[in-house]
């Protein structure tokens, strides 16, 4: 089957999208619905293990990823939207695939053969498969908006996943097709601080402030992110007087595709992007 003919995917939301970043999940599902793609949520999925498990208990991290992998129907590729979950599940997959011991353990635990052919793809790959650029090219709804893309570290630097694709450039090309103006900056791949935001908030605030100050100095109207965790850390740890709206890429695509539910998503942002988008005439054509 050709990629663009693939209309159904298994889908792993992960804890962030299921709770603190529900707006990302909702805009994502609204987007795929408009595109005619079926995302079938993994039944009873569990946490991918997150950086904590991976940091102190390698074996547990593999088993947590393993159960999720065992839930994927054999004929479907698995889509993951959270860059951190994506990396954890990919690492689990490759480690089990390459180790006889781990494979035997997996097959005994989940009572099914390990699927060597499983494809785990990040949401950005799905956008590519769907030819998203052409699907939204007619709606130049962001023509008066300038933005900086923020990938964070997980998506741009997946070092121990073999032959992993690099998704740098996806935000820019999708935003370009919606007419937005890309502004160059140097914080595109900087780490948001992840869990240090909880354990060392006083040290992470200046790091986040620097990222946002740089975006402000580069004259961008907003920051567009790929990662829910980055989104949260940038919002809660910035204590600057001037704040920039931070948008999930899926929210903007959904609006371009004609979704009207954006008010519910924006209500969950600490910095409301609505006034900016309204002022720039984003809703003139779609409202």
């Amino acid at each position: 089957m050709k990629l663009y003919e693939q209309k159904a995917y298994a889908y792993f939301p992960g804890c962030s999208l299921a709770t603190s970043a529900k707006e990302n999940n909702k805009s994502l599902l609204s987007m795929t619905k408009k595109l005619g793609v079926d995302l079938i949520q993994l039944p009873d999925w569990n946490c991918c293990g997150s950086s904590s498990t991976h940091s102190i208990n390698h074996g547990l991290a593999i088993d947590l990823a393993g159960r999720n992998l065992s839930l994927v129907p054999t004929n479907l590729p698995l889509v993951v939207a959270c860059p951190s979950c994506y990396i954890r599940l990919c690492q689990g997959y490759y480690q089990i695939k390459e180790s006889k011991e781990l494979r035997d353990k997996y097959e005994e635990m989940w009572n099914k053969p390990f699927n060597d052919d499983l494809k785990i793809i990040h949401l950005f790959k799905l956008l590519e498969n769907m030819n998203i650029k052409n699907r939204i090219a007619n709606s130049k709804i962001l023509k008066d908006i300038s933005y900086v893309p923020y990938y964070g570290c997980m998506l741009s630097k997946p070092i121990d996943i073999p032959k992993e694709e690099n998704y740098n450039g996806t935000i820019e090309s999708v935003m370009k097709s919606m007419g937005a103006k890309h502004v160059e900056w140097s914080s595109m791949q900087k780490c948001c601080g992840t869990f240090l935001s909880v354990t060392h908030p006083k040290s992470i605030t200046p790091i986040v402030n620097n990222i946002i100050t740089e975006a402000i100095d580069s004259k961008a109207d907003c920051i567009v992110t790929a990662c829910s965790m980055c989104h949260l850390n940038l919002e809660i740890r910035c204590d600057l007087g001037k704040k920039l709206p931070i948008l999930h890429l899926t929210e903007l695509i959904s609006i371009a595709l004609g979704s009207k539910s954006y008010k519910k998503w924006f209500a969950r942002h600490l910095v409301d992007p609505y006034p900016l988008l309204k002022e720039k005439g984003v809703f003139d054509d779609v409202a």
Binding site: C15, T19, S20, N46, L60, T194, L196, R268, L270
Partner: protein, 190 residues
């Protein structure tokens, strides 16, 4: 933090464990002996200011077999595995994999933990996964702040997040508790 760094400059090399570098290499799957101390890792590290040893120094200490110094440093806990160092490294050393190995070894050997608050946090996350199968952020945050006796730190952020429904009061849970038990039983055997 820089005070600590200055103190560590005059180091007496003693109690070397000459098998240590080999152990770290085998366990992390990356050859740390390739490091030629170019400083690219520490120069790019976003969090090196919080660390008592710079990442390149940790690497050097591992090469020297200074096991105790390395296992008790704060660096291995501050490192979040953002991979900035390994992308900068001209010798292709997977530094975060080395940090993972050292962290697990520090716990196993029962040494004094260089940054105990971070271990507390990781344990709270894992407790939450063991209980619900997913992470319950509000409970993790509250239990963490209580354990650290930082009752009022981040109260404002917590309230903001609650008002925006960013923190759910109840956990999102998995139904299959049997699978969860199986995973945690298997993990504890290791």
């Amino acid at each position: 933090m820089s005070e600590n760094k200055d103190k560590k400059e005059k180091l007496l090399v003693k109690n070397q464990d000459m098998s240590f570098a080999k152990f770290v290499n085998d366990k992390s799957g990356s050859d740390i002996n390739r490091c030629f101390q170019c400083f690219a890792c520490s120069g790019g590290c976003p969090f090196s200011d919080l660390m008592d040893l710079n990442p390149n120094v940790v690497n050097r200490y591992v090469q020297f077999g200074l096991k105790e110094e390395v296992l008790t440093c704060s660096t291995i806990w501050i490192c979040v595995g953002c991979n900035t160092c390994s992308y900068n490294c001209p010798q292709g050393v997977n530094i975060p994999a080395m940090m993972d190995t050292l962290r697990e070894l520090a716990i196993k050997e029962g040494v004094k933990i260089g940054e105990p608050s971070i271990l507390t946090f990781h344990n709270e996350v894992i407790n939450s996964i063991e209980k619900y199968g997913r992470t319950h952020k509000l409970e993790i945050m509250m239990r963490y702040k209580a354990a650290e006796r930082e009752w009022f730190q981040d109260m404002d952020v917590g309230i903001k997040m609650l008002l925006k429904s960013k923190l759910d009061l109840g956990p999102s849970k998995i139904r299959n508790k049997k699978d969860l038990k199986k995973i945690f039983k298997s993990g504890s055997e290791k």
